[in-house]
Symmetry: C2
Subunit: 158 residues, 2 copies
């Protein structure tokens, strides 16, 4: 999985701690000492997916495009890493003896079905957890984090 998924998840959580603010890629990258250009690429992907909105101009930057309750971990994984399953069925049964050339073995092959069933449990788990859930867990487990994050961004020179 693209390491940008980790960056994107943490950046979305950080944006929750500074609500209403528009934050540049440079500032978001500075928080974790990430390369700005490469984080910016991930933030653009989140924007294309409707997770962030991007404001241009001197006060420009990124902010959440919707409530964190409406952003699931799966939304972010798909935005950054694509929607493909880890297991890709190449329909090798098509080359097997007695294969039906009209069959879609991605649907009928029982190996493929079992692998997809596992992917579905994974996706269901990620779809059942939102950025708001993570923020609530952080506030519960590490109560100083929200204030510290706000203060850090407030003190950061542009």
């Amino acid at each position: 999985m693209n390491e940008g998924v980790e960056w994107a998840l943490h950046s979305c959580v950080n944006l929750c701690f500074i609500p209403g603010e528009t934050v540049t890629a440079k500032r978001l990258a500075a928080f974790y000492e990430l390369p700005t250009a490469y984080l910016n690429k991930q933030l653009q992907a989140l924007t294309r997916a409707g997770i962030l909105s991007s404001v241009s101009g001197p006060k420009g930057g990124f902010q959440l495009a919707r409530q964190p309750e409406k952003i699931t971990l799966l939304d972010i994984v798909v935005a950054i890493d694509g929607a493909d399953d880890a297991f890709r069925c190449t329909e090798i049964l098509k080359a097997g003896p007695g294969a039906d050339p009209k069959a879609d073995y991605r649907l009928t092959c029982l190996v493929s079905k079992s692998m997809r069933a596992a992917e579905i449990t994974y996706r269901r788990e990620l779809a059942g957890k939102t950025i708001a859930d993570i923020v609530a867990e952080v506030e519960e487990t590490y109560p100083a984090t929200a204030d510290n994050t706000r203060r850090w961004f407030a003190n950061l020179k542009a």
Copy 2:
């Protein structure tokens, strides 16, 4: 995910249809018109993982090293694709303000925990299904497959 996972899963299922036989990589590859050398690499990985056993000599080849009830889909995925999670936590929190240099953020980071929880559901699903289950499903859904496979291997010239 390595496409060898698909090949390995189907090859293990095929070996169940010709029990007691030792089958060369060349014959197993011919069944799905796969490249022998590359399938052989996957079969060697299954052998190192104790899923297949390899017999050398003129009558040599591969056979299942244990009962298909004892071979889970997860065993095969891990043998071919490795044991790493799809999401790799690089602990970007370590570079964040106020980070604890002694912390293992793979364990304490709530983003990392949520991603790992999803991976666990995926692995649990794969670990709950065996090659014997797949074979039983094939026999139920496609009753001619077992005999056809046996006949095909019997008729195949070395």
